[in-house]
Each structure stands twice: as C-alpha cells, then as structure tokens.
Symmetry: C2
Subunit: 733 residues, 2 copies
Amino acid sequence: MQKQVFILFIFLISVGHLFAQNHPVAFATKADLLKVKNGLVGNQLLQKSYDDIKKSVDKWIDKDVDVPLPKDPAGGYTHEKHKENYTLMFNAGVLYQITGDSKYALLVKKLFVKYALLNPTLKNHPEATSSSPGRIFWQALNDANWLVYAGLAFDCIHDYLTSTERVSIADGAFKPIVDYFTKDITSWFNLIHNHAVWACAGVGIVGVATDNEDYVKMALYGTKKDGSAGFIAHMNGLFSPDGYYNEGPYYTRYAILPFYYFANAINNTKPELGIFKLRNSILQKALNGALQQTNLNGGFYSYNDALKDKTFISSELVVAIDIAWQVYGPNPAYLPVAKAQGKVILNLGGLAISNALAKGKVAPFYPYTPIEFTDGGKGDKGGVTVMRMGSNKNLTSLIYKYSSHGMAHGHFDKLNINLYDNGNEILQDYGAARFIGIQQKWGGRYLPETKTYTQQTIAHNTVTVDETSHYDGKEAESEKNWPLKLFSSIDSKKVQVVAAIDENAYKNVKMQRSIYMIQLPGTVKPVIVDLFRLLSTSLHQYDLPFNYCGSVISTNFKYNPSLASLKTLGTKNGYQFLWKEAEAKLNTPMAQFTFLNDQLFYTISSLVKDSAEAIFTRIGANDPNFNLRREPSYILRTKAANQTLLNVIELHGGYNAEAEIANGAYSSVSSIKLLQDNESYTAGMVTINGKELVIIQSNKVFDTKAKHQFNNGGLNIEWIGPYAVFYSNQIIK
Amino acid sequence: MQKQVFILFIFLISVGHLFAQNHPVAFATKADLLKVKNGLVGNQLLQKSYDDIKKSVDKWIDKDVDVPLPKDPAGGYTHEKHKENYTLMFNAGVLYQITGDSKYALLVKKLFVKYALLNPTLKNHPEATSSSPGRIFWQALNDANWLVYAGLAFDCIHDYLTSTERVSIADGAFKPIVDYFTKDITSWFNLIHNHAVWACAGVGIVGVATDNEDYVKMALYGTKKDGSAGFIAHMNGLFSPDGYYNEGPYYTRYAILPFYYFANAINNTKPELGIFKLRNSILQKALNGALQQTNLNGGFYSYNDALKDKTFISSELVVAIDIAWQVYGPNPAYLPVAKAQGKVILNLGGLAISNALAKGKVAPFYPYTPIEFTDGGKGDKGGVTVMRMGSNKNLTSLIYKYSSHGMAHGHFDKLNINLYDNGNEILQDYGAARFIGIQQKWGGRYLPETKTYTQQTIAHNTVTVDETSHYDGKEAESEKNWPLKLFSSIDSKKVQVVAAIDENAYKNVKMQRSIYMIQLPGTVKPVIVDLFRLLSTSLHQYDLPFNYCGSVISTNFKYNPSLASLKTLGTKNGYQFLWKEAEAKLNTPMAQFTFLNDQLFYTISSLVKDSAEAIFTRIGANDPNFNLRREPSYILRTKAANQTLLNVIELHGGYNAEAEIANGAYSSVSSIKLLQDNESYTAGMVTINGKELVIIQSNKVFDTKAKHQFNNGGLNIEWIGPYAVFYSNQIIK
C-alpha cells in the first residue's frame, strides 16, 4: 500500500508539467458541448432541460445579483441566496459555452468579482454550530458545495476572463476557502466521510478550473498528498468492493454528485489515471447499488438518518446517471429512472439518454433484483442483503441489515429488517427526524429526536435487550464491531435466506437472526419466516418491534387498550417517546396480528411462550415540538435467558376500496412450533394452508457442501448445506 | 301536484297496452350493441374494456358456478360470491348480445335456474342486523343491487330463453325478492332514500326485462302507484333543483348508477316520459354536481359518512358518464374523468368516449369552477358552496356547508368548512369510520365510532358549544332545520364570499359565519378570512377546531405539551376520542399556528381575546379496536356570551423536499383587529405583507343593491351590497 502510493506520487510529479489545460474541461469539453448544442433540436428532454436552465438564468441577465454578507442558517435568506448563486453561476457558465453569448459569461464574472471581494473578509459563520463551521454558509459542507459549482462555472468562463481577472478571482473567491479547508480544518478535509468527498471535489474542481495542480493533488491525495486522505482514499474507504456506501443509500445519493463531477473532471484532464475504472469501476457499482436500494417510487431505503421523501429523481442522481451513461456506456436500466427524473444535464450522457428515451421502449421500473452487499473498504464489515420476489408493481423487498455502524448518521440497528411491498413501506425504519431547509425546525438541521429516538434500537425491527440500545447507544463502540454473516442464498425464486450473528452489541447476549423468504407453490406472495435466536446465560427482557405501516385489522388475542389515559413505554433509550396504546399477556400458543396497508393484508404470527406480551405503541410522548410522526409499532416482549423468537410474516389477500372487495383477509397460518433449538440445529414448523412448512438450519456448520441429518419430532430429513426448507414433505429450493 | 300525478297516472294506463317489448332494451338495444360490436376494432379503450369483461367471464364457461345458501356478512364467502355472480350474469348477458355466442346465454341461464330454486326458499338473512334485512345478502340494499344486475342480464338473454323458462325464472328468481320489497318491507321500498333508489331501479329493470308493467309502475311511482314514492319521487325529492343530492357527493356516487341504469331502460321503453329531461335534466345536473365535488385526484369531498378512497373512477361513475354521453350528447369535460377511469361500459356512450379519447386532446383535470348548490327538493333547505381559485394542480377549493342534515349518514356539522389545496386535503372532514368489505371490522359495516365520533360536531371545522354537538346529536331534530344563507358571491376571481346563519343547532346560541376567499394583488395563493360570530345572552364555551392535515412547524405562542401522560379532552359527544397533546393560554393579541402539507405552508392566524386557549389534540382515546385514524386537530377555545372569532388562513410559500428548498415559510400576517362588531356591521382589519386588508359586512341588510356607509376606526367607507373588501385602501371585487 505504502509502495503503491509512493509510485503514484512519483508518477504524478512526472505528469505535473503537462498541466496547462484547454477549458472547459471540468463539466465537459468544448467538443462535447458542441455536440450537445447540435443535439438540442429533436431531443425533447435535452431541449426541455436546456430551456428550463435558460429560463432560470435569463431572468438574472442585466440584474444586479445580491451576494449578501453571510448571516442566516439553512432556510434563511443569505443561505438560500448563496445556494441560488452557485447554481446560477454554474448554469450561466454552461449556457455561455453552449450559446457563445457573452452575456452569460459576464453574469458569472460579475458574481465572481463580488465573491472575490467578500470571501477574503469572512470569518466563521455567525450561525455555525458544527465542529466544521463554514464561512459563506453555517457549515463547511455547504462551502464545499459552493466550491464544486463555482469551480465548474469558472472553468466554463475561463477563456472569457483575462489572465488578471483569473488570478484575482482565484485569489479572492477560491483561495480563502481552499486555504481554510486545507490549512485550518485539515482534519475535517482529510477525514474519510461524505463531507470531505464534497470538500475534495470542490478543491479539485477549482484546481482543474484554475490550472492549480497543487489543489488537484490535495484533492486527490489529501493535504499531505500521500494518499492517506483525499478523493482516491474516499473511493477506497467509503465503498465496499461491491459498491456499498458505508453510510447507506440516502447518503450515497448525497456523495455521488461530487464523486461523479470530480471524477469526470479528472477523467478529462488525467485520463491516464483511469479514474472511472478504479477498483473495478467502483463508481458504477456505487450508482447501481444505490439504485437497487430504492423503493418502486425511487425512494431510497430509509435506514440510517434518511429522509423518506428523497428519491432517485434528485439532482445528484441526474448527474450520476448522465455521466455514467457517457463514461460506462449506454445502460437501458437507467431509462425508467431518467424518465422519472424528467431532466438531464447538458453533457453527452444527457444527450444520449434524451435520444434513447425518445426512441426506445422504457421499462416501467428499474430492474430490481435480489442483491447482497458487503460493508467496509475490504468487504469485511458485515453487509446488507435485499431479498426480492415478485416483479414490477408486485415486487416484495426485504432489507436485512447486518452492516457496520455507518458513521455519525448510523443507527443502532444490528440485524434489522425492513419490508417493502407493492411500492409501499410495510415494516419501516423511521429514518431521521428532520425538516430539511425549514428554518423554524431547528434551522433545518437534524432534530434532537434523531439521536434520542430514531437512531435508538427500539425504533427498529430488531431486538432491544433490557430497554438498552445496541452498544449502549455509543457510536464509537458501535463502530468497532459488526455482525457476521453466517450463510445466505438469494439466487432462487423460491427460497431466499440470510443468517447473521451479532456477538458484540450486548455484552451478555448473542443475537442470531435468520430471515427466510419463501414462495410457496400456488400462492401469489412470498411468506417470510423470521428466526431470531437470543443466547444468554442470564435473564433478560427482549423486545422485538414490528414498526408496521397500516391500519389494525384484528388480533387473535385479547388486549387491554389504554382508553382514557396514556403512559409512556419507558423512560430512556427511545422508550420515552412511545405511548402504550394497548398491551396483552399472551397465553395462546400463537399470537396473530393482521394489518392492512393499501391493497394488501399482512399478518404477523408469532410463537408464544410463557411470559410473552404484545404491546401496541404510538410515537408522540416527550415530543414537545411535534418533531416526530405519530407512527405505530407492535412489540413482542419476552423475558428469558436463551430465547428463540419464531415469527411468520404473511403478505396476503387483496383489498380494493374502489370496488369494495376484500379477499383473503384472514391468515393462513394455523400453528407454529419449534421442533428443536440448540447449538446444533434449529427447526421450526409452520402450518400454513393446512400444510406443514418446515425450516431447519444448522447453527454451527455453514459449509454449502456439508451433509446434514435431522431426526426429531417425527421428521427424518437429510440435506446438503446450512439450511433446508420443506413444504408438504417436499424440499423447496 | 296531486293533479299532475293523476294525469300522469291516466297517461300510464293508456300506454300500458303498448307493452311487449323487443329485447334487449334495458342496458342497450340490439341496434346499439351491434354498433358497439362494430366499433371494437380501432377503439382501444372500448376494446380493452370488452377484453377485460370477456376474460372475466370466459373463465366460468362450462364451470359449475356456485350459488351458495346465504350465510355470511359482507366480506364473507357467500356475500362476495353472490356479488360476483350478479356481475358475472350481467357481463355474460352483454357478451351474448355482442358476440351472439350462446355459451354466454347458457351460463346466465344456468345461474338463473339456480337462483330460481334458491330464492323462493329464503327467509331473512342470518346475519341481518338492519331494519331492512336482506334475503340473499345481509341487507335488502344488496338484494336490490342483485335485482338491478340480474334484471339487466335477463333482458340480454330474454330471447334466448323459451317462454316457459322466462316464466319460471321470473317467478322463481325475481318474484320472491320483488314481493318481499313491495309487500313485506313496503315502507323501506317507499322511502325517499338511496337504498330505495336501488330497490326501485331493481324492481323496474326486472319489470322491463320480464315485460311486467306492474313492476315498472311500482318502480316509477311506488307500491301505491300514485307517485308518492318510487323513482320519479326520488328524482324530485333527493335532488335540489340544481342537482345537489341530499346525502352529499359520496352518496350521489352510490345512487347515480341505479338512477342512470333505470332511467336508461325507461328511456328505451317509454321515451314519451322524457325521463332524462325531467326537472331540467336533473340527472345531468346530479352527475356534474357530483364531479364538481371532487378533489383533483377524483376523490369525493368527504363530508357526511364518506370514505376517502372513493373517487370518480368508481364503476358507478363509469356507468353515469357513459350513459350521459349517449343521452345528453358529447361533453369534453368528462374526458379526463373517463381517462382516469380507464374503462367504459359497452354502450354507445362508451364507444363514443373511447373514440373521443383516442382522437381528442384531454385536459389534465375536470373543469372545476366555483359552484353553489341549494339543498332540498325545492332548493329551500340551505346549501353547499365550493369557493375556488387557481387552476389545474394549483387549485384551491373551500367547501362551505350550510345544508340540511342529509339523512342517516349526515353529520352534525352546521357551517362547517373543508379546505383542499393542490390536490391535498388541508382542513379535513374525517368522513366515516368504516373498513368497507372487511369482515374483521364489524362485517365491513359503518363502525360504531361513526356515530360516536365522526358524526359529532367536534370532528368538524365548525363551532361546538359547551361540548355538545349541534341539535344535541339528534338526527330527527337536525332534520327539521337548516342554516340560512345570508349572502354569497362566487363569480369573481379576486373575492369570493359566502355568509350563512344558523339559529337552531343550539337553543341559546346563534352562529353566523362568513368565509371570504381573497386573491391579493401580487400573490400566488388566496388568503381566507373566517368571520365566525357567536351570539348569545348567556356565557358559553366555544370550541372551533381546525382539523389540519400536515406537520406542526411552529406557533407564535408557548404551550404546555403533555409529555409523559395523556388525558382525553372530554368525556362525551366525540370529545372522549381526543387526546390532549398540548394546551396554551393565549395572551398575545394574535395566535399563529403554521403547518406544512406536502409542498405548501399553511398558517392560521387568530384574533385572541382574554380567555382564549389553544389545544392540540390527536384522535385515539377510547378506541379499543383501533378503528380511528390518529389525526390531529388545533382547537381554539373561548368562553363568552357574544363572541366573534376572526381567523385568517394563509396558504403560503413552497417546500421542495427533493431540492431541499423552503421559501415563504413564515406568515405574512402581522396583526388582526376587529374594528367594529355589532348587529349592524362587522369590520375586521388584517395587516398582511405590511398592508391593511379590511373586510366589512352588513349583519342585517343583504340586498346586493343597498348602499352602506361605515365610519369608524379611521375608516370612512362607502360601498354597495352586503360586504366590501379593501386592500391598501383599494376596493377588491
């Protein structure tokens, strides 16, 4: 590693003298932009995108655009104005290149002149609250956004400016911020984190635009230029070998724009680096991996601190898809996404996509498949699996998360599952508590309830032990370890399975969870079997919530509803936010809870042992500012040392409110049993549609070629591999 | 009236001998269906609709279709099977006519033979709970549904059957139900009510299909055949002269199918009645009025016992639009509706609409306009006004309801308002509590909480006095009176207004409410001023809820949130269902509450007097079966004798979560004052955007030509008509 970096370093010095670039080259080359210009006519989406940009810029021509003294937090005037300004500069720059009309260049220049006067005077922003304060904005991250777009803009008008103007803008507008990043808050700039991706891209693009090789090197290799930080280190460190981004898909979305824009600029100026091919085309894998982690409406899976209204139509994904199309070649999978986006950027990819959309047939959805990601730069820190059955609108997706923590926006959610079906969230992750951009809501920042509730374990569909979150809710501890995948298989259309174990989230309890998604013969929807083993030598309280989305239809047990007053479920670790709407002592051999979501019924059937309770909760307690949505949960509580929870999630029937028809509204599960459960094997039996579904797994031998024999409870079974599924005495594979 | 009926009666006897009809004639004539058949090719929507029907029927050809002994309530097997059967019979009958293939007629005949054996044996349904029990189904209404479709089916296969078969089916399948309706539950059949519309249509269509003039007469004129009941009486009694249906738009939807189907059959057999022209084409007005009372997504306004997921794509509206197109002529306004419906019926209207959709340009939305309806057969029982500004997706609609009660599904909601904006519900009516068709939820019937909560006054955006609903929640009392409209004007694009008074809902309190929707110059969205005068000689508690939909963004006052426990707001009249999430003593001169819904901010600014309180509530208390949605409300509470509430509802700013941009998130209202408020005039002043908006109204002279002078608080104003609106000293009209 050291050696490689050294060789790279020597190589860079040797190519340094080549530097003295034609411009533009960062966003696109002159030749590219000519093709875009010539392609406008007849390519509707490209033309529309161009028209929209032109309209947004033209209204500022001959106007004196305000460059205010930074004052307000996110959502406030100065914040939003500076955001508008960098977008305006970038768009006007591109228009200058496409139209050749100098009024656009002049607009950009005038703004740069103002920034060149303003930026050298700036100290930390008055509303700065983070450890990395900004200058133009409240946080440095936003200053990095500014650098990216302003850099692209400068590159576009480079040749319009005199050399004196170029120097004065580089020194006035850019240098103060670049210096601040690379000399003052160096540790932030050199951190492996999405903020620093933006920072590196910003410094690097400014470097490309202003012919400053020093900036480019710091951007690529960190302030020490030794590869210990910087863009390349980000490409190595933030993604697993299969493109999983450590912070989850919502943040992939955010980071992917600087990744693609800066890589594009580097690709145009240092093609010899082959940046888009690095790590087996890791940027392509990152993009495709993020798209695979969306719901049918394009919404990114909301684990970690995600906001649910963010989808793949966001501008970051427009940029990524359009550049990817250009550098990786045409990919029809992107067309439904591009169609939903309804716009392209004005590069060759945008031109080609616009052309393909006009000509070709577009599938209704991105081609979702079952997919498995490892986490960690080396792929050795757990992972995330998306199990999938069905197709198009009838897709069922279950996300099983056994990844590492995921930095500051990670949640304490080891072995969590989330379920999406028919485009709807069924078992949800709350995501983050935030009203982004809305000043009245804490300046648009992550609300305190993100830490105190949404990140806590009880907000997730996994077990909380003794009302304490995983790793006691300590991020630093949680970063040190991750679950271990025991076995998985997601290639079959009949049985998909993932099993993982966590031995670190709690000191005295090991958690082993296996999720089986099974398509039974003759049925429409898969059934999900959830085998959750809790191993301990001491007595604990185990709470397993199902954060269901939908309306309560029925239970097969009596419960005590809270009628005239409500109390909280607990006092800490997220429990203080939950009202207890009802509770039940479960004494039936099987507890069933059915809810309705949109057009389908869902039933959770649970094996009940002696001490089990069911609790219906609702978010809302201790929320004085109405920051949290009033979402429900169904929590199964048991008290034991060793305990194996066996739950079956059915997706059943159909409801058409328009036609007033409900069918299959009742569960088909009539019994659940554990046939055996010890360190060797766990075997469960579910009677469904009157037939026996048997799931048996090895708890210690995970070799896919190992032979197993099981003889118990009337079953005498042989099979190969860590698990087997039988239905009506037939093996299902 | 008596005389007219008598003449009609004589006329009918004289035309009776003409009876001996060609068949089919009820759904459509042979000639019509030939045109439909010939029109299939090239008319995509018609072809698709035909294909869908054919596919649904073909799978039953040569199968033995079950006609089970009635046993289950709605949602259960026998209920759903009999529903399927009548649809199957009707569809197969139409297919027989179009294709000429006798296999379809045979399928229908076989089913009729089974029903002819079953029906004579039936007593009241074992699950019957209503006062009008059914035989095939749990309630007679569903038996009426069966008659309508089975009648249409019989008509289609009339000529396929031998005369012996015809007699045996008429006597076995139809007569027991018709007799039951017209001899046993006569008072139900003769009631003016949507159930009886179905019953009359059923009996009448069976009459047309089986050449039974006696049935047709009872259907048209009631069992006494004197016009005191029956279909014509429904056309007179259930609609106001401008087509408002007494039970509200959700029920118009339900009743409109039998109205159109039976009218169509009568039109084909007794054209001399000119049934579609009756009361100035009242059935056309009813259809158009129902469509005007939908949200942009087609959802019927949810006042009275409505379910929110019912839209104009429902099959009833497909039938109505397609018949209307045929009998009233082409109407492009229906095309966006037909496009959303995605199907047509196989009649001439369906053919023509399919053709028009293929050829013509279709507007994005039904052409919504401001509209005013009277209520009551003579138009003298109050009414409903829909004020509207904006267009297409940016439409703002405010429904002001001052109608009569609306029968058993009416709510205690005098002077209620509901607000829709940009296709979203902003201030909602809960509608009904019901999971229609879902057996686990009380057999799919209206849930008890419909009476105990959703019909109660506190569930509405109008005043509850002393925690007691209007008319003390007694339907019989509420049916006796209705509010009086004082003045209104909805033609302007700048100012729309409706004022009404209610003197009967409470013994000691008169309620006068004026709603002004005002488009201020230079603004995007209208502002709404709500002037609610409460007149009494004794002290009362006045609660005015705003059942807002959205997320709490901010208040300009401090409140005490309920943190660790919740109590109910009250103990009866709906109050027992509301948790008190927060409360505030208001001591500012103006209270402001801002919430976010989708992409817009909404602020309610309220004039505050001494004793005012604000209460944030949430539905959910005393709801042991989770029958109610957990919706919020913002309730303003005052204690006084005379009290005038002055509230301003702003629709402001914009929020784009995808782009993370919020603008105009703050209210523009800086003060609210009452300049005068007595029996002569009420004058309010709102400072908005730093300018003065003055609204002044006469409280006793409503003549549109009367001159008024007002001299008070520095204002010296003259105007003509019951109200005037000034902004920045300019009158707005």
